[in-house]
């Protein structure tokens, strides 16, 4: 009998049944997708790092190297499991071309390596360590993704021709945020091109126990071993791998949570409306002696069917979208080992949706017990009962046109009813604005200041060498004379020794110069200005247990000086452990220098870079826009895609929910509409009243949603961003998009949906609804 009642009931209320099923499906789909994405990303990163046997500790070093001393250190240190020194042949981008395109403008340090012997393998797209034949070359997968290269292309390195035999995954330098990229060639070819560049050493360790990393790091520093270059640890490799897709994932997660919330609100709303419609029938059933449990069973059976169909549909949809979202993760990191976990999580997610829907229905059905049969038969209503708002009276209204007045009054009189629509539209606004603001923020030039890089037009990297000082002087001289350059600054990184709180000596790389010209974003405090001030990166501050205002002892010129920490900033460059100060120092040897400059006419940056590349053959010249494009490009692109998807989805939700809401409202309001018509209100009047209700709720929702997006949304986003190492984050808002186009888009779709949804109101026959 239940199946018959359920079938009849569904056939009678097709719209509501369809909508409820769709919302359950949306909730199920998003929950499964998020679960799958999280498992995949974390699983794929783990798998990649396991297959590649990523180094636990990597010290990059350029210059002379004492291999025997390093080997001895590794052999005598009981924490070390494996040790190796790899070479990285750093070749100027101008000497490399892929399929005829030069890499001269690449901001990456492109270099060549041979396959490692013991660990840190370069993997093919199937996850196996690559064995490369003579004349063949494997190139980083990022170049496949951005379209620079395809299989079988020719690549020229200093006049030697290679064939691209495949693409490689590099667990240490995969991410575009890592500044170096390794190309894999055979031993023989490596020797052949060795003269084309300079050798950088990758001093790599794997430990017996990863938790000893901190102690090992200190021991390495204390031993005074080769350290002319960034130090990168296992956790930073992991973070870099997670960063670009993680941000997109975070946005998808946020949207999912909100859409699930919307879905549940709509389920609640349809359920309430349906029950209200059935109220009289329920009363009759009670009155003729049917047990409450049996009535509840009918509803549970119906919603059980809806929930199951919804979950199955959601699961199917998630399958369709899964590959699209996983494309990037698969390409860069491969598959996860945990396919069974993916299934388990998917099933748990679906069960969770099903159980929540049913639990919700059950809780609503509880009120059946309290329902009095006579009341249900006589009055036939439950919630949304009108209580007129006493402060808005027609008799004291001269200002508002009557239809507008009646629309607003209705909203205020039935706040609980309209609260659903308000919340849904508010969340939709939130879903549209937050990803959009995030996209704007990370694609704005200023975003790099959150990542530890000053906001300029041109960046000239002068690597370490005997002639560093002369090279810097040459660059400064040129910039000084160049009228196109409005401002520039030289930042030179030198190594100093500091004494940690436990008395141990630690080395600290400090970038010296004027940091006020192209400042980075400070999470806490401010830029160092005085001679005795220093700013630390978040990672350094954590490691040294220092906060703003603390004093740090530093050995300068053989003397111990006390410097005050003026600020803490986030940084992802050079392994994330950097410091900035303004004091002058002539003692220590400089490691490298960076010159930043701005141009009077930013449109000429490209020309200027080409000019400087020729002038300063010893340096790497790049435009900041290029830098952003190449490092954050994929992330920006994926967030851009997500924000458009969010916009489309939120607008669609607005249409669906408004249609649904208006339909139900009209069903509920049939008597009121008939009364209005009987006293002489035209169809147009009634449409106007519904539009007034919609617009009133909509405006409230947009204002509140925008406010929340810019406060709570910013806070949530900053938490996500903070987990990736950047702190003190503020949205860069495009006012035209956020305050004009988005609201306009929402308003127009909601208006159209209101008009469509209320078409029926005009066709209603007075007679059918006014007579008993």
């Amino acid at each position: 009998m239940y199946s018959k009642i359920v079938r009849n009931d569904m056939a009678n209320s097709k719209l509501i049944t369809c909508m409820t099923t769709l919302f359950v499906a949306a909730a199920a789909m998003l929950i499964t997708l998020s679960a799958v994405l999280i498992v995949h990303l974390s699983g794929a990163i783990d798998t990649l790092m396991k297959q590649a046997e990523t180094s636990h500790f990597l010290q990059m070093h350029s210059g002379a190297i004492d291999q025997a001393r390093l080997t001895e250190f590794a052999e005598h240190h009981d924490r070390v499991d494996e040790f190796q020194i790899n070479e990285f042949l750093n070749v100027d981008g101008a000497k490399i071309s892929i399929a005829g395109t030069t890499l001269a403008h690449s901001v990456q340090d492109n270099g060549f390596s041979t396959q490692s012997e013991k660990f840190d393998y370069l993997l093919d797209l199937d996850g196996h360590a690559i064995e490369v034949a003579n004349g063949d070359i494997y190139i980083p997968v990022g170049y496949l993704k951005d379209g620079t290269a395809k299989l079988g292309d020719t690549m020229m390195v200093n006049n030697k021709t290679f064939t691209i035999a495949g693409f490689l995954r590099d667990s240490q330098m995969n991410s575009m945020l890592a500044s170096s990229k390794r190309f894999l060639v055979s031993e023989e070819d490596y020797t052949a091109i060795q003269k084309a560049g300079t050798i950088e050493y990758l001093i790599e360790f794997r430990l017996k126990n990863l938790s000893d990393l901190k102690d090992f790091e200190e021991a390495y520093i204390r031993a005074g071993l080769e350290a002319n270059g960034p130090t990168i640890t296992f956790s930073l490799f992991k973070m870099l791998n997670a960063l670009s897709d993680g941000l997109m994932l975070a946005v998808i997660l946020l949207i999912s949570i909100l859409v699930v919330a919307i879905a549940f609100m709509c389920i609640r709303f349809t359920l309430h409306t349906k029950i209200e419609e059935d109220y009289r029938e329920i009363g009759v059933m009670k009155a003729i002696g049917i047990r409450v449990v049996d009535i509840q069973k009918m509803y549970l059976a119906k919603y059980g069917v809806i929930a199951v169909i919804g979950c199955v549909l959601g699961f199917a949809f998630s399958f369709l979208l899964r590959d699209l979202l996983l494309e990037n993760i698969r390409l860069y990191m491969g598959e996860t080992d945990n396919t069974s976990l993916v299934w388990i999580i998917t099933i748990i997610g679906l069960l969770l949706v099903f159980i929540t829907v049913m639990a919700y229905v059950q809780s609503v059905l509880k009120q059946f017990r309290k329902l009095s049969a006579t009341q249900a038969i006589r009055f036939g209503t439950t919630y949304g009962k009108a209580r007129h708002a006493n402060y808005l009276n027609l008799s004291s209204n001269k200002m508002l046109p009557i239809n507008l007045f009646l629309g607003m009054k209705d909203v205020l009189s039935r706040k609980r009813l309209y609260a659903t629509m308000l919340t849904v539209l508010l969340l939709a606004t939130f879903i549209i604005i937050v990803p959009q603001n995030l996209y704007n923020t990370i694609s704005a030039k200023s975003f790099i200041t959150y990542m530890g890089i000053g906001n300029s037009d041109i960046r000239i990297d002068i690597p370490q060498g005997n002639q560093n000082a002369q090279h810097v002087a040459a660059v400064v001289k040129t910039l000084e004379r160049d009228t196109a350059i409005t401002d520039y600054t030289v930042l030179t990184t030198k190594k100093f020794t500091t004494i940690a709180s436990d008395g141990a000596e630690e080395s600290l790389k400090i970038e010296l110069g004027d940091h006020t010209i192209f400042p980075v974003e400070y999470a806490l405090g401010r830029v160092p200005v005085a001679q005795n001030e220093i700013a630390l990166s978040v990672l350094n501050a954590q490691e040294l247990h220092l906060k703003v205002g603390d004093v740090i002892p530093l050995v300068i010129n053989g003397e111990k000086n006390n410097l005050t920490v003026s600020g803490i900033y986030s940084d992802i460059t050079n392994g994330g452990k950097t410091a900035k100060a303004a004091f002058s120092d002539r003692s220590a040897e400089s490691m490298w220098s960076v010159v930043y400059g701005t141009m009077a006419n930013p449109s000429q940056v490209e020309e200027k870079i080409t000019e400087y590349v020729d002038t300063f053959h010893f340096a790497k010249v790049s435009g900041i826009n290029h830098y952003i494009n190449q490092t954050f490009g994929t992330t920006i692109h994926s967030i851009g895609k997500v924000s458009i998807a969010a916009l489309v989805m939120a607008l669609l939700l607005c249409v669906l929910v408004t249609l649904l809401f208006m339909n139900m409202l009209i069903a509920k309001d049939q008597t009121s509409i008939a009364i209005m018509k009987s006293v002489g209100f035209t169809n147009v009047d009634i449409s106007k009243q519904y539009i007034a209700r919609s617009v009133f709720v909509l405006l409230l929702a947009i204002v509140m949603g925008t406010f929340l997006a810019n406060t709570l949304g910013e806070f949530l986003t900053s938490m996500v961003i903070a987990s990736f190492g950047a702190a003190a984050f503020e949205f860069t808002i495009n006012p035209l998009a956020a305050y004009v186009f988005c609201p306009l888009a929402i308003i127009s779709v909601v208006l159209v949906a209101t008009l469509l949804g209320t078409l029926r109101a005009g066709q209603l026959k007075i007679m059918d609804h006014i007579k008993e």
Binding site: K385, A386, R387, H388, A389, N390, N393, L394, S395, S396, N397, K398, P401, I402, L406, K409, D410, S413, R414, T671, S672, A674, I675, M676, K677, S678, V679, G680, F681, T682, N683, V684, D685, G762, K765, I766, M767, I770, K771, E772
Partner: protein
């Protein structure tokens, strides 16, 4: 007397399943200015349908309804709405009010659509009418806070707010006890005395006895008609006896 409404050969039917169910068959009726008319007949004879057809609130299949020289069947929805709002008033059997408005606002509703700027004068008018109906103290009350009889008076107030020429009542006393019913009839009679034409549907001879012209309907047609002198307060019993005798005579 001037002819106000004239129904000519009105025919209307409903589709019930595959069957055509005739509600009105070639009904012709005229209504003159200042008349106090009632339509009587058994349940389902089509009296309410005729009332709604004459008011233009319901469409008809064939025939014509003229109101003050205008053919209602040729008017648009908008023109019909305008007519209902400005020249007609309706009183229904069940209270039909907007729950979100208080009594006064519900009464003002039809007039406020066009005369918003005139709200002070309108409120004054509404209160005067309410005073006459004895419900002026209830102006600010919620519609759920007053009795059925009081609501029905409020309904009459709303019907009167735009000073209509014609008031239609569909069993206006149907949901009331006999005392309240007679009070409502007193009010309608006094409105009629002031010049407003009143037409109502009833199945109660005691109510019909208050009117001056009674149309008897049966099976979708007007089968007979009876005229009575203006009721002055005495002889209600005799009028009722005359009506019931007539009904018995024509077999309804």
């Amino acid at each position: 007397m001037k002819k106000l409404v004239s129904g000519e050969q009105i025919t209307k039917s409903f589709q019930v399943g595959n069957e055509q169910h005739h509600v009105l068959t070639n009904v012709s009726v005229d209504l003159y200015e200042g008349e106090f008319v009632s339509i009587m007949g058994p349940s389902g004879c089509g009296k309410s349908t005729l009332l709604y057809a004459l008011s233009g609130m319901d469409s008809i299949d064939r025939g014509r309804v003229m109101f003050d020289g205008m053919d209602l069947t040729s008017l648009s929805d908008k023109e019909l709405a305008d007519l209902r709002r400005t020249r007609m008033g309706f009183v229904f059997q069940q209270p039909t009010f907007l729950k979100s408005l208080n009594i006064l606002d519900n009464i003002l509703l039809p007039a406020m659509r066009d005369q918003r700027k005139n709200v002070v004068a309108l409120t004054e008018t509404a209160k005067n009418i309410m005073k006459k109906m004895g419900i002026v103290d209830l102006a600010k009350r919620d519609i759920t806070q007053v009795s059925g009889g009081q609501l029905q008076r409020a309904g009459i107030c709303r019907a009167l707010i735009s000073k209509p020429q014609l008031i239609f009542g569909d069993e206006p006393t149907g949901a009331l006890n006999s005392t309240s019913a007679q009070e409502i009839m007193d009010l309608l009679a006094s409105i009629n005395t002031e010049g407003t034409t009143v037409m109502l549907v009833t199945h109660d001879p005691k109510i019909a006895a208050r009117t001056e012209r009674i149309l008897f309907m049966c099976d979708g047609a007007i089968v007979n008609e009876m005229r009575l002198p203006r009721f002055t307060g005495a002889g209600l019993e005799d009028r009722m006896i005359a009506i019931t005798a007539k009904m018995r005579e024509i077999g309804i």
